[in-house]
Symmetry: C2
Subunit: 219 residues, 2 copies
């Protein structure tokens, strides 16, 4: 069993964004290992699951302190606990969905958010026929109420599912209201200040990054 | 107006995957610029849209040859054409969706694939009550027919929207049938051979990569 001595993980400015982006995948794999009864794992095993090199895993974790002893592997449970704490996954996050069209409705009905601590507590739209209706247990309110809703319900994260032509203005408004993390489903690249994090869910971009290899041959 | 002399883009082994992953975003921004009537753009302008540094853009494009002359900017249309060709976006790609539950149905009804050349021509499920039905103009067939369907319809890309517990076995079967590009919607990290490309769409992972900054403060 390995020692865990995280010591530097509060120095987050030093951690590359690409490393932070991999940590949730580590958390997922560690959870899977734990549910399979695996209590200790080395970086070879983790690397195989994640399809990254063991050296990469050791390097990634080194940003947050010394999690394992050379040759003795990681305690799956303790590494999982630490990574969850580092990522803020032990907290509950209140989320607002802006845009309750077909996509927004699918997001509201997605069962995967709540078990991971993301609670959709509010939904906004500008369509009068939707406002006041309840969708998946959440009452749809007018976009004009955004600021009040964010403050009243202690919301820190927004999911944006509005048409492309409205995306930037909605995101500007979210930033004005103090939202610092945005998940964007519109197929566009919105601008945000440096202090705001944004991630886009875009299946077409993912497909297009693979056709390169189909076109040019990858063997 | 800048010269475009791509010369090395057939040497794809030299291009880091992260660079390839950015190219579709370049394509999107160039399309937006073109529709705004912008004919020439420099790396400052592109970088601002993409929120990457101008140096990064010049470095990314340098993998594929010399696209612009120092200080004169890129011809938006020609850079767009070249990148689309490099990524194989002038072709039509036939796609099979495996799993026609709520998520699979949402994917089948998503209007964003076809304009970008991705045609969902087949859908498979193992649920007898779905097999034979038509969803969004596509007839649902049994998973057992996968190999025949892939060959008959010249399918090269698969979208996987089955429950987590079936994901790996479905993906193994896709690889057996010769599929080389997979878009996975299940919240798990499936294993594929090196010759196969896989991308996962996972909103929870995206959210979790942002809570790090909310937790640790990003200013």
């Amino acid at each position: 069993m390995a020692d865990i001595s995280p010591s530097r993980w509060d120095d987050q400015s030093a951690v590359p964004e690409v490393v932070v982006g991999r940590l949730p995948q580590y958390v997922r794999v560690l959870k899977e290992l734990l549910s399979d009864g695996v209590e200790v794992a080395n970086s070879q095993q983790l690397g195989q699951q994640l399809q990254v090199t063991p050296a990469q895993i050791r390097k990634d974790l080194s940003y947050f302190g010394r999690f394992g002893k050379q040759g003795r592997g990681y305690s799956v449970r303790r590494l999982l606990d630490e990574l969850q704490q580092i990522l803020g996954l032990n907290e509950q996050w209140n989320v607002v969905v802006v845009g309750v069209g077909r996509l927004g409705k699918a997001i509201l009905s997605y069962p995967g958010f709540t078990p991971d601590g993301f609670h959709i507590v509010a939904a906004l739209d500008n369509n009068p026929s939707l406002i006041g209706q309840e969708v998946e247990g959440v009452k749809v309110r007018a976009v004009e109420e955004l600021d009040a809703v964010v403050k009243a319900q202690n919301i820190t994260i927004a999911v944006v599912a509005v048409p492309v032509r409205f995306t930037q203005q909605v995101i500007d408004k979210l930033v004005e209201c103090g939202i610092r993390a945005i998940l964007n489903y519109a197929p566009t690249s919105p601008q945000v200040p440096e202090s705001v994090k944004i991630r886009s869910i875009d299946p077409v971009l993912s497909l297009q990054s693979m056709t390169y290899y189909l076109t040019n041959g990858s063997e």
